[in-house]
Amino acid sequence: MTREHNLDPRTKLVIVLCLSTLGIAVNNLALLSAIALLSYVAASLFRANLKRTFRKIKSLIYMLLFIALVQSIFTRGEPLLSAGGFAILTVNGVERALQFILRMAIVIFSATIIGTSSSRSIIQGLVQWKLPYDIAFMAALGIRFLPMLREEIRDSLVAIQLRGIDIKNIPIKERISLYSYLFNPLLVGTLLKAERLSIAMEMRGFRAYDKRTSYLVLKFTKLDYLIMFFSIAITAVFLIISYM
């Protein structure tokens, strides 16, 4: 366990909030690069598993690169690369594409910081920040059910192939109707699971009362205050430089 892992999850949320605010508010390419680098350093300091994250979102990264390419082609401005008088790439377009990629990198790096805390402690942090318990509990359940949903999607894909359907080589019309069939067990399964869970919880005396006691109580340390102060201060400095 590193010292960074022992930080209060609310401190991590503040860091992520600062980084993502900067990612949205700043337009200058050099500043955005610096923020992306800062997010990477922060994620590394928190020992976030960046390799695993990139492996998981590989297809999303390809999609982001494709969007960036489309954006760079369809943005008008001073031509950078042209063929027969038609501008294929413009300076503005490339700049926009780079901004988009850097912003996404900032979002991904900061999201990995959150991942270094357990969902339980993040929810507890939100509750202690006076987020209504119902909403915090719903978010906690959502996080808990996500891996199960992923597993169910995988199982459905296996089961439908075992029914003799070649999902990669069917015409587009049939493919659309196939997706509706794949969606069906997920929807029904989720509703049934939610119903069973709510019955089981009520049977064990669970109610969404406003006043609750919790076994897990989070406490800020001096280090938390210090890191939050510096995060907000750095964010303010970046914003001032950016809008000067």
């Binding site: 075992l162 359907i165 049939e174």
Partner: protein
């Protein structure tokens, strides 16, 4: 050549946590096999390896003389029917009728032909009164029957049934047994993964018992 050949197979879900080591087994098409063993012994994993759902970490699983690593799952699905432990896992449609017919519909079969095939299965599996019911809201016995009927729509030559008697009372078990006998008489081979010794003893001719990932005995009746 055997129908399913498991050759020196190692399998692990997580690195370092081996389920099988050096497992070998041959299965012929006309056999009715009982795969038994305690919870966590690897019965379902072995069934999934046989159906090509899981691929071995080491060694080879050959189905109809081809390595399962090289056969797309849908090709195996056309010849081997796999019944999941939880039949709900293989339901996709909103009604019993659609559940039986949607695969043929996606494959572009004629509506009349689909109707004929679906009605044949509804009759055979005593599901006629449930055509417009949601598969997800049927009783356990009805779900099992529908799942088997759906698997049989492809007319497979071999079946792998994972715990088909779970949640069935004696009457329903007898019904299932009669059905399996009918399929056996039609020349369909099967592997039944089960805890229910009395059930499998009535239909199976070969009994494989596995424990901790090893075959403890493999006997023919």
């Amino acid at each position: 050549m055997h129908y399913i050949e498991i050759r020196d197979v190692d399998f692990e879900y997580e690195k370092g946590k081996s389920v099988f080591q050096n497992l070998s087994l041959n299965i012929d098409k006309n056999e009715t096999i009982a795969l038994m063993g305690p919870n966590g012994s690897g019965k379902t994993t072995l069934g999934k390896l046989m159906a090509g759902i899981l691929k071995p970490t080491k060694g080879q699983v050959n189905v109809f003389s081809r390595d399962t690593r090289d056969i797309p799952l849908h090709e195996i699905g056309l010849r081997i029917g796999y019944l999941f432990q939880n039949p709900e896992k293989q339901f996709f449609a909103n009604t019993v009728y659609d559940e039986l017919g949607f695969v043929m519909k996606i494959k572009g079969y004629d509506e009349e032909y689909i109707k004929e095939k679906v009605e044949e299965k509804l009759e055979f599996f005593q599901l006629k009164g449930l055509v417009n019911h949601s598969p997800f809201l049927l009783s356990q016995g009805e779900k099992q029957r529908l799942a088997i009927a759906a698997v049989l729509m492809n007319e497979p030559e071999y079946l792998i049934l994972d715990e088909p008697t779970t949640g069935l009372d004696k009457k329903r078990k007898d019904m299932l047994l009669n059905l399996l006998f009918m399929l056996k008489n039609q020349g369909i081979g099967m592997t039944i993964i089960s805890h229910d010794r009395r059930f499998v003893e009535r239909i199976c001719s070969r009994f494989i018992y596995i424990s901790r990932g090893e075959i403890q005995y493999d006997e023919r009746a």
